[in-house]
């Protein structure tokens, strides 16, 4: 369990992190979201022991990050932002070094390094200096460094930054596989990633937590949560829009696309309990329109993200 208590960081006059508290348990994948300079990296740097907090503290597996820093660091695997690695070392030499620092020696060390190389698809480049690697490989080298000791706690600052879609997919499925018996905190700008890997999301803006929810809960905050997106074939599609908007229980109808003879609309119910799908089907049936397709939307994270982080006053308090 990682427990963060009133963690605060000041850089001169600037308050970068302002009294953040939360707990993450085993099996959870916590996603940190927030605009740039919101304090995500600073919070991670404090938990991993790189930056000393101005006030407050955190504990990792029961070890205080200030008082028992070495014990806490032993249990953490950390992937810093921009994935730093020693440029003049070869991949194997670099991982050997990390393994030695992590207390592995001899056969066990070699086995660990070999296993990690395989896991992170680095076997082809094992004898290449880190400086000659592409960004994706570099990211994976640093990722390998973070998981070489099979840590209980994994903290990753933008783990899929700079990867191509295939590599992103691989890294995400690795994170998901590891999530079962680990506690993971990751930060990201990629909202799709949150949906795929995170079990819980904390949104940080200006150093404060403005939302702490599951991805699904977050989506229900979206204006489009429960909205129906549907395509109707009708001889006179123009009239449908105004007619639909007049229906009871429909807050708003937005035109998404219009082709000849068919129109795609999005109907937003005034309340999530409104059976909007049924209403639309009946509406089309009554008028003899063909309903081509319909989808009930879960809501979009990017809308929620914008809504929460843009306003000066936090829109949602948990």
């Amino acid at each position: 369990m990682i427990e963060v208590k009133e963690l605060t960081k000041r850089f001169g006059q600037k308050l970068a992190v302002d009294g953040i508290s939360f707990r993450v348990g085993k099996g959870e994948v916590l996603g940190f979201l927030g605009p740039n300079a919101a304090g995500k990296s600073t919070t991670m740097r404090m938990i991993t022991g790189f930056l000393p907090p101005s006030s407050g503290t955190a504990s990792v597996g029961g070890f205080d990050i200030i008082e028992e820093s070495l014990e806490a660091r032993r249990r953490i695997g950390y992937l810093p932002e921009n994935a730093p690695a020693y440029p003049d070392m070869t991949v194997t030499a670099f991982l050997d070094f990390i393994a030695e620092i992590r207390g592995f020696a001899g056969k066990i060390k070699r086995a660990r390094v070999g296993e990690t190389l395989d896991k992170c698809f680095l076997t082809d480049v094992r004898y290449q200096p880190v400086s000659t690697l592409s960004k994706g490989y570099n990211q994976r080298v640093c990722f390998a460094q973070a998981i070489i000791h099979d840590p209980e706690y994994l903290i990753m600052d933008e783990p899929t930054d700079g990867l191509d879609p295939n590599q992103k997919h691989e890294v995400r499925s690795m994170i998901r596989d590891m999530a079962r018996d680990k506690t993971i905190i990751l930060s990201t700008h990629n909202l799709e990633e949150v949906d795929v890997v995170c079990t819980r999301v904390i949104i940080i803006a200006s150093g404060k937590i403005v939302a702490d929810k599951t991805p699904l809960e977050l989506k229900t905050l979206s204006d489009f949560h429960g909205a129906a997106c549907f395509t109707v074939c009708a001889p006179e599609p123009g009239g449908i829009l105004s007619e639909m908007a007049g229906l009871h229980g429909v807050k708003d109808v937005i035109k998404v696309r219009e082709d000849s003879g068919r129109i795609t609309l999005r109907a937003i119910p005034s309340d999530p309990s409104v059976p909007v799908a049924e209403m639309i089907m009946r509406f089309c049936l009554d008028r003899g329109f063909t309903l081509e397709n319909m989808k009930i939307e879960e809501g979009r994270l990017d809308d929620v993200f914008r809504q929460i982080t843009r306003s000066d006053i936090p829109a949602v308090q948990n």
């Binding site: 790189f50 070495l70 950390y78 810093p80 070392m89 070094f97 620092i101």
Partner: protein
């Protein structure tokens, strides 16, 4: 201890995988030869000792040792690996000492490669090998002291150049403090104790004994305390720069 060993091994390998090490060693040996034979007039003096050789070490080291120390922390900062190394389960003192020892061992190996001069002097006459050994110990301690200054300045900046210049200036200052023109300048007006304090801070003052073959415990303590102080300062700087 094991972790310090790992840090040291990595750092030492870092010297030898880059061309820096070889350039350094070649230039060091060339300069040693040039100063000893051409300027120190080793042959003309006609004495079977290595004073003409050791005499120049404070000046050769002044420009070469900072180039060995400058990368130790500045590079970590530039490459961002400082965030990696400081979040690994290794203590700050293990890191500092590990890095310092690696660079010192490297300097020691460069110094060891001057061995042909011992053979030369042994062939030409009957030198006092004890004095030569003392000279080498003094030289190694001097290099270590310069290096500790280099470690300290390296932790101040992400630029190797700034670290280099700062180290040269600090070491030059410590060298010249005991130089006769400087002490003469002071002797006109300063009280005697102040002169001896200033002189006591000088590398030159402490090197001179060892160069002659005298191993004085006070000189040893001086060098070890310079290294201890600089490495401690290195730790304090790293700690304080981390929090800002």
């Amino acid at each position: 201890m094991k972790r310090m060993w790992a840090v040291m091994k990595r750092e030492l390998a870092g010297y030898f995988t880059s061309p820096v090490a070889y350039v350094f060693i070649v230039i060091f040996l060339l300069l040693c030869g040039f100063f000893t034979f051409s300027i120190g007039r080793f042959y003309e003096i006609g004495q079977a000792d290595l004073r003409a050789f050791f005499e120049w070490h404070p000046w050769i080291f002044l420009f070469l040792v900072p180039s060995v120390g400058m990368r130790l922390w500045a590079d970590e900062r530039r490459d961002g690996t400082i965030e990696l190394i400081l979040t690994l389960p290794v203590s700050l003192s293990e890191l500092i000492v590990g890095k310092f020892l690696a660079a010192w061992i490297f300097l020691g190996s460069a110094l060891a490669l001057t061995f042909p001069i011992i053979i030369t002097v042994g062939y030409l006459g009957e030198p006092d090998f004890g004095a030569i050994l003392t000279g080498y110990i003094g030289s190694l301690l001097l290099a270590g002291s310069y290096l500790s200054v280099g470690c300290m300045t390296s932790s101040l900046t992400r630029s190797q150049v700034i670290s280099f210049v700062l180290t040269v200036v600090i070491c030059l200052f410590l060298l010249l403090a005991g130089w006769p023109p400087v002490t003469d300048f002071l002797s006109g007006w300063a009280p005697a104790w102040l002169i001896s304090v200033v002189e006591g801070f000088s590398f030159m003052h402490h090197f001179a004994d060892m160069e002659r073959g005298v191993l004085d415990i006070r000189d040893l303590i001086y060098y070890l305390s310079v290294m201890g102080f600089m490495l401690l300062a290195n730790g304090v700087i790293l700690q304080s720069r981390r929090s800002s």
